[in-house]
Amino acid sequence: MKLYSKKAVVKALCFVCLCSSMQALADGRVVDKVYHPYVQPLEREFEYRYFYQRQADHPDNNTMGQKLGYGFSVAERAALEIYVIADRISPEDYKLTGYELELRWMLTEQGQYSADWGMLFELERQNNQDNYEFTTGLLMEKEFGPTSLTLNALAVYEWGQTLDAEWEGEFRAQYRYRWLPAVQPAIELYAGENYKGAGPSLMGVHKFDKQEQLKWELAVIVAIDNDTVDRTLRFALEYEF
């Protein structure tokens, strides 16, 4: 019995190729969460994200970033999240660098069409520098049997005191095997300004009690070109209640 067509796989791959071929230019952090296009009513969560970059002779060596957020659904298909961002950019010390407001909007019901769609809107303000970054784009997910392909094609507009106003592009992809709720291996791909990387990731969910669960994600992304910092570690925790 044929449960998903080759045509659908080809369509998804075409989308990956299309997004990868777009000019990818972004000054900010490229390795971040790969967003799923789903929102639940009554959703509430605390979120922590961490990333660390390493390559001895690279300008981004020893860069470390952390994000702490609180999110909640504001409508049946829309959720808001507010973040505080702290970064350590060598040789400077760790400091609070900015704030971010994020809106996720679920466009289609899961499984209704050949792929599920959502949109992302983010506004980030960098502390003390009066710099801003607005990000928007499409979130897509498609099931292939026990696996899921998630794609984020994002456009970023930056402006401010120490930034040239410009539009940039970012692309994130995740191909996940839904093995067990607590352990789901995946492969991730990222493309942005001076960054092209891919690598393995592992994620899962642990339920504590009614409506209480902890989601975790860990990924090691390695450079796939010479401009990209060699290794990036990404870690995220989400406590939903």
Partner: protein, 135 residues
């Protein structure tokens, strides 16, 4: 003559550019197919029926009606679905096409009582099931 050649070249160039756009448009096209609709009710923190038979190999629509005043979340890892249904509300879930087999689901707000299983039957068994339950 020169103009015609230039126009042809331009057309060839534009058709190459159109390829990825066409690919994106194809991907966004919804797959239109007639779907069977199955009703699932939530009452007194129980799923009714607690065993739901559906045909394997085709996409089905589950209409979940929450008759309780409190919200409930339909959750199933094997179906890869989670959906909150507000108190006295309803929600539509699209599942499948499924392999023949059993797919467990539960209510996240009342996991001890709200439990159920969706059974996807192969074509012959599904036709038999339908014939037995025809009225």
């Amino acid at each position: 003559m020169k103009n015609i050649e230039l126009k042809k070249r331009q057309l060839r160039k534009n058709s190459k550019k159109a390829l990825p756009i066409t690919a994106l448009l194809l991907l966004t096209l919804p797959v239109v197919a007639e779907q069977s609709v199955f009703e699932l009710r939530i009452k007194d923190h129980l799923f009714l029926p607690s065993v739901l038979y559906v045909p394997a190999g085709e996409k089905v629509k589950l209409l979940v009606l929450n008759q309780d005043p409190s919200p409930e979340e339909f959750e199933s890892f094997s179906l890869n679905r989670e959906k909150v249904i507000l108190g006295k509300g309803k929600a539509t879930l699209f599942v499948g096409p499924l392999q023949p087999g059993k797919y467990e689901f539960f209510g996240e707000y009342n996991p001890d009582s709200a439990q159920g299983v969706l059974i996807a039957l192969p074509e012959a068994e599904w036709l038999q099931h339908k014939a037995n339950h025809a009225y």
